[in-house]
C-alpha cells in the first residue's frame, strides 16, 4: 500500500469514528425531545452522557495497548480524535448538569462541587481534560516541545482514575458496573508497562 493510500484510508477511518462517536449524543438528544428517556429524562440524559464520556475515555486509552499487543499502528492515528470526542462528551455532561439539571443555580452548584465528593472528583477530572484539549493541536505540541507536551498529557491517566471514582461514588449500593469500568482501566494502564518490562528483560 502506498503512503497516499494509507493516508486516505486513515482519513476515512477518522471521519467514520468521528461520526460514530456522536451517535450516542444525537440519540440521547432525540429521545430527550421525543419523551424516550422515561419519567426523569434530565437525570437519564445526564447519566447517559456521563457514561459515554467514560466509555470514550477508555476507548482513547485503548489505542496504545492495541499497538503494544497487536503491533497495529492505525489506532494511534485515532487517539487525538477520540480524546477530543471524550472532551466534547465531558462538556455536554457538565453543561447538562449546569444548565438543565441545576438550571444555573450557582450557589447550589458550588455547594455540590465542594461538599459532594463524587461531584468534586468529577469536576476535577473535567478540569484536567480542559488543558489537554487546549493543547491538542500540532502547533501546541511544537510550542511546548514534545517531551513537555507528553508529560502534560499523562494527566489523562489521572482524569480516567477520577472518572471511575466519580462513577463508583455516584452509585448508591450497586458498584458492580463502575468496578467493571475500573477493571478495564486497570488493564489498559497495566498493558502500558509491557514495553518497559520487556526492555528490562532484554
Amino acid at each position: 500500500m502506498t503512503r497516499s493510500q494509507t493516508a486516505r484510508r486513515r482519513r476515512w477511518l477518522k471521519v467514520g469514528v468521528g461520526v460514530a462517536a456522536f451517535v450516542p449524543a444525537a440519540l440521547t438528544a432525540f429521545r430527550f425531545v421525543t419523551g424516550g428517556l422515561g419519567a426523569n429524562p434530565i437525570a437519564e440524559a445526564l447519566n447517559r452522557l456521563g457514561l459515554w464520556t467514560l466509555i470514550l475515555l477508555l476507548t482513547t486509552l485503548s489505542c496504545t495497548p492495541l499497538k503494544i499487543v497487536f503491533g497495529w499502528n492505525w489506532p494511534l492515528a485515532l487517539r487525538r480524535l477520540l480524546g477530543l470526542c471524550t472532551f466534547a462528551y465531558a462538556c455536554l455532561h457538565f453543561t447538562v448538569y449546569l444548565g438543565v439539571d441545576q438550571f444555573f443555580a450557582l450557589g447550589e452548584i458550588l455547594k455540590d462541587i465542594g461538599k459532594r465528593k463524587f461531584i468534586t472528583v468529577g469536576f476535577l477530572a473535567f478540569l484536567i481534560l480542559c488543558p489537554l484539549a487546549a493543547t491538542s493541536t500540532n502547533k501546541m505540541v511544537k510550542r511546548l516541545g514534545f517531551a513537555r507536551w507528553k508529560r502534560l498529557h499523562r494527566l489523562v491517566y489521572v482524569a480516567a482514575v477520577l472518572g471511575v471514582v466519580h462513577f463508583i461514588w455516584r452509585v448508591k449500593a450497586d458498584t458492580r458496573e463502575p468496578f467493571i469500568y475500573g477493571a478495564v482501566l486497570l488493564v489498559l494502564l497495566g498493558l502500558r508497562l509491557v514495553p518497559a518490562l520487556r526492555a528490562r528483560r532484554a
Binding site: A39, N40, K115
Partner: protein
C-alpha cells in the same frame, strides 16, 4: 387464620350494587388494557392484578397534580428486581402475590398470620393522595389506596413493651432476581417508632390509581410514610414485628453515615450524594424547594419535639 380479627364475612357484591361493581370492573379492565399498550413489562406485571373493593376519599389529600400512572409504575427503586429505575417494571412479573400472608408478631397480645385477601377486607380502603420524596431528590404525587396502620396495630393489642415496629419484605431469590446478588442485605427490613406507625398519615397501601398495586410498586401490600424518604416505605411486606428496641433498617446497615433510622425529609440535612434542599418533581423541569417533613410538618413535627433532627437524621 386471623379469624378473631375479622368480622362476619360479607362478600363485596352485597356491599356494592352490582351495576356499580361491574362498571368498576370495566374501568379496571380499561386500565389494564392501557397498561398493555404502555409496555410489555408493565403488561406482564399487571395482567393478573386483582381488583380492589370500594374506596372512599381519605384525609390529608394534596390537590397537586398527580404523577402519571406510567411514570409511577416505570420509575421505581425496588432493588429486589434490579438497581436501574426501569428494572422493577421489567422484572417484577415474577413476583407471586397470591397466596400471600402477613404475619404479626412480637410484643402484641394477638399474634397472628393474616391472608392478604382477608387483610384487604379488614378496614375500609381509602384513597390517599400524597407526596413521595425519594432521597435521590426526585418526588411524585401518588393516589394510593390503602388503610391507616394505626387501627390495625390497636387491634393486635401492643403490650407495654412495644416501642417500635419492624417490617420485613419477602425473601424469595427465585422470584426476586435482585436478591441473588448481595447489593443490599436481604431481606429488606425497615422500622418505625410506634407513635410514627400509629400516626394517621402512615398507611398500608394495597393499590394506586384505584387499582391493585402493580408488582413493581410493592404488591400486594406496602408501607407508605409520606413524611420520610421513600426507602422507609418498605414494599411487599410479609412481617410486622412489634419490638422494644430500635430495629435495624436496610439502608442504615448499608451506609450508616448516609441513611439514619428516622430519615425524615429534611432540606437542612444534606446527604453526601445529594443536596436535599431542592427536588425535581417528576414531570417538571425546574427543581422546587423541598419542604420539612415533605410538607407534612403541621401533622408530624410534634412527634419529634425536643429532638435534634441533625443528629437523628
Amino acid at each position: 387464620m386471623a379469624s378473631h380479627l375479622l368480622g362476619p364475612r360479607i362478600p363485596s357484591r352485597e356491599i356494592t350494587p352490582e351495576g356499580v361493581y361491574l362498571a368498576r370492573r370495566q374501568i379496571i379492565g380499561a386500565g389494564v388494557a392501557a397498561a398493555v399498550t404502555a409496555g410489555l413489562g408493565v403488561r406482564r406485571a399487571r395482567a393478573d392484578a386483582p381488583g380492589l373493593p370500594a374506596t372512599k376519599k381519605g384525609p390529608f389529600a394534596t390537590d397537586e397534580p398527580q404523577t402519571p400512572f406510567k411514570d409511577v409504575t416505570t420509575y421505581n427503586n425496588f432493588y429486589e428486581f434490579g438497581t436501574d429505575k426501569g428494572d422493577p417494571a421489567a422484572n417484577a412479573h415474577t413476583l407471586k402475590t397470591r397466596p400471600w400472608t402477613v404475619s404479626f408478631e412480637g410484643e402484641i397480645n394477638k399474634p397472628q398470620t393474616i391472608d392478604i385477601d382477608s387483610l384487604l377486607k379488614l378496614f375500609p380502603l381509602e384513597e390517599r393522595i400524597c407526596r413521595l420524596r425519594c432521597v435521590e431528590a426526585w418526588s411524585m404525587v401518588i393516589p394510593w389506596v390503602g388503610f391507616p396502620l394505626g387501627p390495625l396495630l390497636k387491634r393486635l393489642e401492643p403490650t407495654s413493651k412495644a416501642k417500635y415496629v419492624a417490617f420485613t419484605t419477602l425473601l424469595a431469590p427465585d422470584q426476586m432476581p435482585g436478591q441473588r446478588r448481595g447489593t443490599l442485605e436481604w431481606p429488606y427490613v425497615e422500622g418505625l417508632r410506634l407513635d410514627e406507625a400509629m400516626h394517621p398519615l402512615t398507611i398500608l397501601a394495597v393499590g394506586l390509581y384505584g387499582k391493585a398495586l402493580p408488582n413493581q410498586n410493592g404488591a400486594p401490600v406496602r408501607l407508605v410514610v409520606p413524611w420520610k424518604y421513600g426507602y422507609k416505605s418498605i414494599k411487599s411486606v410479609v412481617k410486622l414485628r412489634l419490638v422494644e428496641k430500635q430495629p435495624p433498617t436496610t439502608w442504615n446497615i448499608s451506609a450508616p453515615s448516609e441513611y439514619g433510622f428516622y430519615s425524615n425529609v429534611n432540606p437542612d440535612v444534606d446527604h453526601p450524594r445529594w443536596s436535599q434542599a431542592r427536588e425535581r418533581r417528576i414531570g417538571e423541569f425546574l427543581r422546587r424547594k423541598t419542604l420539612p417533613f415533605n410538607g407534612y410538618a403541621a401533622e408530624v413535627a410534634s412527634l419529634y419535639a425536643g429532638m435534634d433532627l441533625r443528629k437523628n437524621y
